[in-house]
Amino acid sequence: MATLPNRQEQVTLDTFLRGIWEENPVFVMLLGMCPVLAVTNSTINAIAMGLATLFVLVASGALVSLLRKLIPKQVRIATYIIIIATFVTMVDYVIQAISLDLYNALGAFIQLIVVNCVILGRAEAYASKQRVGPAVVNALGMGTGFTIALLCLGTVRELLGNGTILGIQVFSSNFEPWVVMVLPPGGFFVLGAWLLLFEWLKQRKAEPAGAAEGATVHES
């Protein structure tokens, strides 16, 4: 980013990709854990929740960015919350209209998108300082990263807990489902396992680099 002369960020591929890998809201920043754990007991719930959050992220990011010069500093958090709540109410009614089954499966968690810290965090840390273009692209990246994280959990939990993916039987009938995986403890275990995997990858990647640089790298 050192090559950029102005403080306003240009739209690059990195603006989008950062949210997916480097600053993944779930796996790296550990934000918005409640919906991540609560609705990922099946793949379809995970997709619906991910898309709903993606929409709210993008829409509120765009609006916050457009209004950034009009919102007084003192009441900005309250304003962001009202903007977010408006879009969440919209999503809530839309999902109810499209599929009542899905609406009942997700329950209160659609409305709880309001207090998802990923969205408020993006509004405060990024959208309120950038033009609409970068704000929307960044929100798209974050939302995609969030959806991917939900999918990672949802597929693993449905596969192990039910033996299915998207309702399609994967294993033979001999498979004994791990019921615990679709129950609350499974959410904690699977997310913990994903974090372990990423931490292991990170350490493995850091090891050769550390050996090359010599003694400057110390373990954290």
């Binding site: 934000l31 409640c34 409305q111 709880l112 609350p184 974090l195």
Partner: protein, 196 residues
């Protein structure tokens, strides 16, 4: 006990469908401030208090919304009420009990974005609890939240002394611990069948 009795509602919110370990509400403070028992206890108390206040406010607001047939404003008005309730609690506490105010510090304003509070207000509306039932529900939820936080803090204090592989330090280990706690709390399901 009938499912509508006050005792059952309290017990249900506190242990059977524990807000943190069974419904996944309020995970952020659960993982964030559970490193020491002292802070966990303070956070639990503050949350319990805000839960009680905002639950009562939400009950009143919902009566108004239904009266004027504008339920689509529910989410916006709830979140506004919670934010102002937190602010009010903060000001009142500063005036009447500065010691407690200092002890809670930054945790107090952070409660606004705790999804357990909004979840509580939404659940009590969906289940159409009356005034006393809302009171039992919110105090049960508060007790359950504090219980989960204290258990987790106790475990993590012990774990800080243990030697674990470097990959599993931090969040991953906390999540695994939470999973075990949640597994233990599933045992309470036998007390009265879940209807979350």
């Amino acid at each position: 006990m009938s499912p509508d009795s006050l005792g059952f509602i309290f017990l249900n919110a506190a242990v059977i469908n524990n807000f943190v370990l069974a419904l996944f509400l309020g995970i952020c403070p659960f993982l964030g401030v559970s490193a020491k028992k002292e802070t966990a206890w303070n956070m639990g108390l503050a949350t319990m208090f805000v839960m009680l206040v905002s639950s009562l406010c939400a009950y009143g607001i919902n009566l108004l919304l239904v009266r004027f047939d504008i339920q689509y404003l529910r989410l916006i008005s709830y979140i506004a009420v919670i934010a102002s309730a937190v602010q009010l609690v903060e000001m009142a506490m500063k005036k009447f009990s500065p010691a407690l105010f200092r002890a809670l510090g930054i945790f107090l304003p952070l409660i606004t974005t705790n999804c357990a509070i909004l979840g509580l207000a939404l659940f009590q509306t969906f289940r159409e609890y009356d005034f006393l039932q809302s009171l039992a529900f919110s105090s049960g939820a508060g007790v359950g939240f504090t219980l989960a936080l204290m258990l987790m803090a106790g475990l993590r204090e012990r774990l800080a002394l243990a030697r674990v592989p470097s990959v599993s330090q931090g969040a991953a280990m906390s999540l695994m611990l939470a999973g075990l706690l949640s597994l233990a709390f599933m045992g309470f399901a036998g007390l009265g069948g879940s209807h979350a």
